[in-house]
């Protein structure tokens, strides 16, 4: 059952990602991206990372996508972007490079499918002891408190930068 669901979500995520690239208009691409991010949230649920799934939906599929939509609306929607995108040799070359990298990675992973187990085990133990939210909360505010506070500074810098550049009357 879990396996089937995983393949459903993975297919939806990949299909959504392809839709983003192939979409006709920026808004269509954006909606495909929502599909992709929502499916990733589904995969998080299957991994029993419930809090992460909720964050994924609230922040990415919700807030960030709203921002994307506004940015697209700010741009010139009537303009046809397709001639601007370099086609032909360049796209063939990029597909070749990306395909070669993907093939190499796939081949290497296929040959060596064992992952380092330690990280996964410790997360499972944390979840068993403190629950899905506690497993995030405990390390975040104790062991990882320095990155946490830097995140606060980062958000402050983002506010200042956005206001400086986008506030209409200065």
């Amino acid at each position: 059952m879990i396996d089937i669901l995983f393949y459903v979500f993975a297919a939806l995520a990949l299909g959504g990602a392809m839709g983003v690239v192939a979409g006709r208009s920026p808004v269509a691409s954006l909606l495909f991206m929502v599909l992709c991010l929502g499916s990733v949230a589904g995969i998080y649920v299957l991994l029993e990372a419930h809090f992460l799934a909720a964050v994924q939906v609230i922040v990415y599929a919700g807030a960030i996508m709203v921002l994307f939509l506004f940015v697209i609306m700010l741009l010139n929607l009537g303009h046809n972007y397709h001639p601007d995108l370099k086609a032909g040799l360049w796209s063939a070359l990029s597909f070749a490079v990306a395909g070669a990298l993907f093939g190499f990675l796939g081949r290497q992973l296929w040959g060596n499918r064992t992952m380092t187990p330690e990280a996964g085990d410790s997360v499972d133990a944390l979840v068993a002891q403190y629950g899905a939210v506690g497993a995030i909360a405990r390390p975040l505010y104790t062991e990882w408190v320095v990155p946490f506070e830097i995140t606060g500074i980062l958000l402050l810098v983002a506010i200042v930068g956005a206001l400086v550049l986008a506030k209409q009357r200065v």
Binding site: L101, F104, L105, Q108, L109, N112, M115, T116, E118, A119, T142, W144, V145, V146, P147, I150, T151, I153, L154, L156, V157, A158, V160, G161, L163, V164, L165, V170
Partner: protein, 502 residues
């Protein structure tokens, strides 16, 4: 005093310079909008600039105090070692000079002073986080704090379309490269089960890391760093951004951002990926060779001074990549010394450019420098000094720094790369000296109207400090060089690993 990170309160002491800069950034930010007054008026804008400099001074005191602190173990998120402290001195120098050259520009262009200096302080804090981080998450967050502040600074002049274009280009390409970097961190974590640099180093060197994932992690992080240091296949953004951004911001970021990216580059690649040296050595070799050759050749045909200095900055990144390719003790020390000298001479050269461009974006072509030697001999002399130092002329700090890099490269037996370094330096003389030639030998096209040049106190201070440091480090580099070498020893770089190659 001893710090062992047994309690989280230890971080308050270990991160004192960063904390001071962040708090001071907030103070300057709030002072800028206090009582709803506009911070664009002249005296107020300059007052905010001096206020920000006070913060830099406090951070410098804290950084000096940290020299007396001893760190036990390598468990912390933040290293308290010589490498970090020396890097911090470089960033503080960049902040000091960058702010001094901004004063007149900020109020002449009616920029929002509170935000301008606050963002500068935040970006310096971000640089420090990058250089001191012992965890990839902290490297990433530092990179982001620094980058977002600098994106905003590049687009800061809202009355100038080119500034907006520069900001947008930098933002989009920078975000793209950050994606690479983050993906690299994720794959490295997948390969080694940790984001802590010493733990990664252990997993890489004893072979428990997952080979393919690690290789991709290293490659993607290398791409991310190469974008930030604008190494040649990834340099496309740099000339446009450096040309379009306000000149003091260009001065600040061409030195500070590059120094921070290199500091993190060194720590991540030389500490954690040391055991995978043979897999990234070849890539770094080519990256540095193409950067040195490409940037110097393109710089030859530039007619805009800011663009020429942008390509010069890319070329200097190429010289520093030689040190990463060499990956030995001597090179790491030389690179720290080089970054300090480069920061001083590059910002000082930009200081002259800002003065000549009338604290705006005028008079930026080579032709506009014709007659400067006759009208402003003092300024022309300083410009010549900084250009010679950038070129690496004997007797200047630039020469000493490049000489040390060369020694490090020879120590690692990188003969071909050393030859490329020397030859590309010779090529670089052409475009640096061409600007000096315009300054002294060319008469202005319109028959010699005098160039009005306004040199306020901040600018004079920056020029004097810059010239003094460049000459002092050129003639008596001993003590600073020793400090740089000792600082790099704290990095824990293993000796030259040439035996792997031959």
């Amino acid at each position: 005093m001893v710090i062992d990170f047994s309690s989280n309160l230890d971080y308050v002491r270990a991160l004192l310079p960063e904390i001071i800069l962040c708090v001071w950034g907030m103070v300057v930010l709030m002072a800028g909008v206090w009582r709803g007054e506009s911070s664009e008026e002249g005296p107020r804008a300059e007052g905010l600039g001096w206020l920000a400099l006070v913060g830099v001074a406090f951070a410098a005191v804290a950084n000096g105090w940290l020299h007396g602190v001893r760190e036990v173990g390598t468990d912390g998120m933040i290293a308290v070692d010589g490498f970090r402290l020396f890097s911090n001195w470089i960033f503080l120098t960049a902040a000091l000079l960058g702010m001094l050259v901004s004063f007149a520009y900020v109020y002449r262009q009616r920029l929002q002073a509170g935000e301008y200096y606050a963002l500068m302080l935040f970006s310096v804090a971000g640089m420090m986080f990058m250089a001191g981080a012992r965890n990839l998450i902290v490297v990433f967050l530092g990179l982001e704090v620094m980058s977002i502040a600098v994106y905003a600074l590049s687009a800061f002049n809202r009355r100038d379309r080119r500034s907006a274009e520069a900001g947008l280009k930098y933002f989009i390409l920078g975000a793209f490269s950050t994606g690479f970097f983050l993906y690299g961190i994720a794959l490295t974590y997948g390969a080694t089960g940790s984001t802590h640099l010493p733990t990664i180093a252990l997993a890489v060197s004893n072979g428990t890391a997952h080979g393919a994932l690690l290789l991709f992690g290293v490659a993607l992080m290398g791409v991310g760093f190469a974008f930030k240091v604008s190494a040649v296949p990834f340099h496309m953004w740099a000339p446009d951004v450096y040309e379009g951004a306000p000149s003091p911001v260009t001065a600040f970021m061409s030195a500070g951002v590059k120094a921070a990216a290199f500091a993190a580059f060194f720590r991540v690649f030389l500490v954690s990926f040391q055991g995978a040296y043979e897999s990234w050595y070849g890539v770094m070799w080519w990256l540095s060779a193409t950067t040195m050759v490409g940037a110097n050749l393109i710089a030859l045909v530039q007619t805009n001074v800011k663009r020429m200095l942008a390509y010069s900055s890319i070329a200097h990144g190429g010289y520093l990549l030689v040190a990463i390719t060499a990956a030995n003790q001597a090179s790491a020390g030389a690179a720290l010394f080089y970054l300090l000298v480069y920061t001083v001479m590059n910002i000082s050269a930009f200081a002259v450019v800002i003065a000549v461009s009338n604290h705006g974006e005028e008079r930026l072509e080579f032709e506009d420098y014709a007659g400067l030697g006759r009208n402003q001999p003092g300024l022309a002399l300083l410009l010549t000094l900084f250009l010679l130092s950038l070129a690496g002329f004997p007797g200047t700090g630039g020469f000493m720094a490049k000489f040390q890099l060369l020694l490090g490269a020879m120590d690692a037996q990188l003969w071909v790369l050393s030859v490329i370094l020397v030859l590309s330096t010779v090529v670089s003389y052409a475009y640096y000296l061409r600007l000096a030639w315009y300054t002294w030998m060319r008469d202005p096209a319109d028959g010699g109207s005098p160039l009005p040049v306004y040199l306020p106190i901040g600018m004079r201070l920056a020029l004097v400090v810059g010239a003094a440091v460049v000459i002092w480090l050129g003639l008596f580099p001993g003590s600073v060089l020793d400090l740089a070498r000792a600082s790099a020893a704290g990095l824990g770089v293993a000796g030259p690993m040439v035996e792997i190659l031959h």
